[in-house]
């Protein structure tokens, strides 16, 4: 039986306290400030110790650099000041329960010059003037970056080290073919994005030992192992662990000392008591075992700061906190030293701390990928390693904190095991989605566990999965997954097949990949499918080659002693995470454009080879002219009546989607990564379906040039009128082929009868997750936007009225106002369902301002109906399948 003692699982008695309300207001008011503290400390250490321009940096050298940075960081107890839009300062009057911060600012942008910080160089004097997502940067800090930090890294960013070490020598010498190298393909932007130029990060550390034993015990363990080790490399590794953990402890002690010092000077008795509490807590944890719920949260927070000092803030995730923290929570509750209300308040403060930083995104990147947070996932619920219901009181406390705060970060992910977890838990998850509009994402334990076991995880490991970044499942604290290592634009593989190894974006004079034949000469659809698979294989081999080369550069220059100390495996193996020290090693590729490619294949199959209503040459001509001269063909290709579309439970269309995911999984599973693990495939796109979409010309499925692709694993917007059919198509995809996670983005319109809506909402999830007695996998993941069309439209027109409107992009959550116009349009145009009726509401495509119109409108105007008038939005008209050309 689940361990639930709360009289009301929705915890309606817990409200935002004045302390939290004040912090939250300041949080939404503040713009991020670029922080120079980390880059300055790290640069100084590298300069002073001769670590720049070397052939290798050892794990011990890195550990000493991080220790230097940790012990010399400014110990900030409470922030005094932040900046708002327009770069005006305001008083924060921070009274959080947690001291320390990821940067030296209330809301900061940590810089990692080892990775991509130098991309901000051109903007140092203008970054506060960006139209979207400006950062505050003082003149003196800008000058410091320009003169004292950036110049030293020009030859030493990981990307340039990779170019120096592996290109052109290795690539060109070993493969003197006429095709562009992987590094060149990356620079074309349109084929794939390897994220190792920016981070590894995407993983879940383990805080179990830190919380339960304390870092001193881990240091002692490392010391003993180092003494016993014979291998010099292992001895050095264990020494590095000791040094890195010592740095974390010193940072906490500095915070304790600062709190003590402030307390002595504090005239207000209440503030003095709080400061003394903090001084006492930080003097104890994380060095020693946590004795209370609050101390456990503090341990995690301090370790989290250290993890981000080492690793770029891109998708590092916190794991199953409701499982780890429940014993201390329960013991405090039983002892009467904590109430649920106090726990919610503590978590609200921690959630704000976790969201105290945003990633570095340069100007052009803002246009393509703007609005992202650091994507720090927290996982709740599901089952334990024995298969028992793992939902506990703390699960609901975390849900309530999330519901109250409505924050972008952390990104809450809820696991659900049908038949083991209680129905009221699922209903509560749906309720929080309705009240927040976008969170938590829901994961189907049965399907995920099956998928992870198919990749070699044991049953216990698979049952203990947590979610990384957006939606990627991995055994928590023991799998070094780098789940977002490669973002693959699958439509480029289709493009190469359509144009015999050439790509319209890079020009038809450049042979990108080996020719696979002129499509007009193909005799059958199988010929074309083979060409597509050949091109996909070539592209994937290029991408994984590049990823593995970058991995070797990380091994050479970016060992990770902090993460290694907080992980299962490295201590046992005496080996850094980056060298393969984790218990389980993997790399992840996420695929963008699945639905558009599947529908394109279906279109080619149907109109060219089955009906023979157009020739391949005519089809190519139509997409080359963006359908400008062939409106009839355009409408036909876009119509789900005339042309099979994935997401309509259409066997022909779904078979193509299934064929693609199976092919990609088989291929990726056969490729080894640089740590001895294998590649896993996922289908979540963040904002890349908009970014890649803007680079691509028209496709055979009726998508016009530069329009957005469908998000994640979601069917194309506007062509799936039935909710049941859409969920069925996705639920039929084999989970074993989706092991790096999926994002199914579904939009529900809020309904007046909330109770009835919640019942149908929960039923829709149950139905989607159902494995139908083993006849299918059941859907692996689903996430929602529960905001109506008119609200989104109004938020575009009056963003100032919607500073906190939370949306699911395709994986992570974001504030709608921060998204670029293309992403806003994509979300507005997503198929919106009336869940109680199971039917879609089709609206007129949202019109962007003229300058932004190069983006997708929903397909098939022939099945669209006029949007309901604003006053009748609560009673919309379900779409009907109308006349088709």
């Amino acid at each position: 039986m689940p361990d639930i003692t709360l009289p009301d699982i929705s915890l309606q008695s817990c409200q935002i306290t004045p302390r939290v309300a004040h912090l939250r207001d300041a949080y939404f008011r503040a713009i991020p400030e670029v922080c120079t503290e980390r880059p300055l400390l790290i640069t100084q250490y590298h300069k002073d110790h001769g670590l720049l321009h070397q052939n290798k940096i050892s794990v011990l050298q890195k550990a000493m650099a991080y220790r230097h940075a940790l012990m010399n960081r400014t110990p900030v107890i409470w922030h005094q000041e932040a900046y708002e839009k327009g770069c005006q300062s305001f008083s924060v009057n921070d009274r959080s329960y947690f001291a320390g911060s990821t940067t030296s600012h209330f809301k900061g942008v940590p810089l990692y010059p080892e990775y991509l910080a130098l991309t901000l160089w051109p903007e140092l004097h203008t970054i506060g003037e960006r139209a979207a997502n400006p950062y505050y940067l003082s003149e003196s800090d800008a000058e410091e970056l320009n003169a004292s930090i950036f110049p030293y890294w020009m030859e030493d960013t990981l990307m340039e080290l990779a170019r120096k070490h592996y290109y052109p020598e290795d690539w060109a010498a070993k493969d003197p073919n006429p095709y562009p190298s992987p590094i060149k393909l990356m620079e074309y932007l349109v084929f794939f994005m390897p994220t190792k130029v920016n981070c590894v990060s995407h993983t879940i550390p383990s805080f179990t030992r830190a919380v339960n034993e304390g870092l001193r015990a881990v240091m002692n363990d490392a010391h003993a192992r180092g003494e016993a080790a014979q291998d010099p490399a292992q001895k050095e590794f264990y020494q590095a662990i000791e040094v890195a953990l010592d740095g974390i402890i010193l940072y906490a002690r500095n915070l304790a000392a600062k709190a003590q010092e402030m307390a002595q000077a504090e005239p207000d008795a209440e503030r003095r008591r709080e400061l003394l509490d903090m001084a006492r807590i930080y003097a104890h944890v994380p060095e020693y075992p946590a004795r209370s719920f609050r101390e456990a949260l503090t341990t995690i927070w301090i370790c989290w700061i250290a993890v981000h000092l080492e690793n770029a803030n891109v998708g590092v995730s916190l794991g199953r906190l409701d499982q780890l923290l429940h014993p201390l929570y329960k013991s405090d509750i039983n002892a009467g030293s904590l109430t649920a209300e106090q726990a919610v308040e503590l978590l609200c403060c921690l959630w704000l701390k976790i969201g105290d930083h945003v990633p570095t995104v340069a100007q052009a990147g803002e246009q393509l990928f703007g609005g992202t947070g650091s994507n720090q996932a927290i996982t709740i619920g599901g089952i334990d390693t024995e298969g028992n219901d793992a939902v506990n009181d703390l699960t609901y406390v975390m849900l309530r904190a999330t519901e109250l705060m409505k924050l972008r970060d952390p990104n809450l992910n809820a696991r659900y095991y049908s038949g083991v977890n209680e129905p009221r838990y699922l209903r509560r998850l749906c309720e929080v989605n309705v009240s927040t509009g976008a969170t938590p994402a829901l994961h189907n334990d049965k399907a995920v566990i099956t998928a992870l076991m198919s990749k070699g995880d044991t049953l216990e490991q698979a049952r203990d999965y947590g979610v990384i970044g957006c939606v990627e499942p991995s055994s928590a604290g023991r799998t070094y997954a780098h789940s977002g290592a490669i973002l693959l634009n699958l439509t480029s593989a289709l493009e190469l097949a359509l144009f015999n190894g050439k790509h319209r974006h890079t020009g038809m004079s450049l042979q990108i990949s080996p020719p696979t034949g002129e499509p007009s000469q193909f005799k059958s659809f199988e010929d074309f499918r083979n060409a597509f698979e050949t091109q996909a294989k070539w592209l994937i081999q290029s991408a994984t080659t590049f990823n593995n080369l970058m991995g070797k550069i990380h091994q050479r220059y970016y060992p990770t002693p902090v993460l290694s100390a907080l992980f299962e495996g490295p201590m046992e193996k005496g080996k850094d995470l980056i060298e393969g020290g984790a218990t389980i090693n993997a790399s992840g590729m996420t695929v963008i454009g699945l639905a558009d490619v599947a529908d394109s294949l279906s279109a080619i199959q149907r109109v060219v080879f089955e009906e023979r209503s157009v020739t391949f040459a005519e089809l190519l001509d139509a997409i080359n002219t963006n359908f400008e001269h062939d409106e009839v063909l355009y409408k036909r290709l876009g119509s789900p009546i005339k042309t099979p579309k994935y997401g309509n439970d259409d066997p022909a269309a779904d078979a193509n989607a299934q064929s693609i995911v199976t092919f990609l999984d088989t291929l990726l599973s056969s490729i080894e990564n640089y740590r001895g693990g294998r590649y896993r495939v996922g289908y979540w796109s963040m904002t890349n379906h908009a970014g890649f979409g803007r680079l691509m010309q028209a496709l055979p499925n009726g998508r016009k040039a530069r329009e957005n692709f469908a998000s994640g694993i979601t069917p194309v917007s506007g062509v799936t009128p039935s909710l049941t059919a859409a969920l069925s198509s996705v639920g039929k995809l084999p989970a074993v082929a989706l092991s790096s996670g999926i994002a199914l983005n579904i939009k529900y319109t809020p309904e007046p009868d909330t109770s009835a809506m919640l019942s149908n909402f929960a039923a829709s999830v149950e139905g989607y997750f159902d494995d139908m007695g083993g006849s299918r996998s059941g859907g692996m993941e689903i996430q929602f936007n529960v905001t109506n069309h008119d609200t989104f439209i109004d938020a575009v027109r009056h963003p100032e009225n919607y500073p906190e409107l939370l949306v699911r992009v395709s994986g992570y959550t974001a504030y709608f106002k921060d998204l670029n116009p293309q992403m806003q349009k994509e979300i507005i145009d997503r198929t919106e369902y009336w869940v109680s009726k199971g039917t879609a509401l089709f609206y007129e495509p949202f019109e962007l301002p003229a300058a932004e119109r190069a983006v997708r409108s929903p397909r098939s105007p022939d099945i669209s109906v006029k949007a309901p008038a604003a006053e009748s939005a609560s009673q919309p008209t379900p779409a009907t399948m109308g006349e088709h050309p």
């Binding site: 160089w121 051109p122 950036f150 110049p151 020009m154 170019r163 620079e187 052009a364 890079t506």
Partner: protein, 178 residues
């Protein structure tokens, strides 16, 4: 690293224009930030020229004029010159058809721009037209993206040198135009 198809033979290039004659008064100015000299006739000439460069029609002379103004600013603005104090960098910026080819060498606190063909560059930027290059270096937000989307600018070599050059260009804009 130089590729034959993008590097023109020197004889194919137009003669490198002589640096525009500095207004005599400019040489007599103290080495102060340019911004403090706004309105001074000798300086205003360059400010106006730069203004036209950024906001007028983008001509094939864009790169040439930019480098000319940049050289001028390095000469007379000590604080701007500090940006390249210890900087060694070798750039090639050219058009795909070779009609424009500029090599820029930063060394010993000086900038030397010429048509001289160099093959040991740190970075090479090939652009399709002056508008694209101007957007790439100066424009805000969407324009930068557009030049990338249209594949109008291609970079080979160490991209960090482009970031640094981007800073120099925008810092110049800040100093000249505020």
């Amino acid at each position: 690293m130089t590729t034959a198809e993008t590097t023109p033979a020197p004889e194919q290039l137009p003669a490198h224009p002589q640096p525009a004659l500095l207004p005599p008064a400019a040489y007599e100015l103290p080495a102060e930030p340019l911004a403090s000299m706004r309105g001074f006739p000798g300086i205003q000439f360059w400010m106006d020229k730069f203004d036209r460069l950024l906001f007028g029609a983008a001509t094939s002379q864009f790169l040439n004029i930019l480098l000319e103004v940049m050289e001028f600013a390095f000469k007379i603005d000590r604080s701007y010159r500090r940006n390249i104090q210890d900087f060694k960098g070798r750039y090639v910026i050219c058009t795909a058809d070779g009609s424009v080819y500029e090599s820029i060498i930063f060394q010993d606190g000086k900038m030397d721009a010429s048509h001289r063909v160099i093959d040991d560059w740190n970075v090479k930027v090939v652009y399709k037209n002056a508008g694209a290059l101007r957007s790439f270096l100066f424009a805000q937000d969407a324009d930068v993206l557009d030049s990338l989307l249209k594949n109008e600018v291609e970079v080979s070599g160490n991209i960090n040198y482009v970031h640094r050059f981007g800073f120099l260009a925008r810092d110049l804009q800040r100093r000249l135009l505020g």
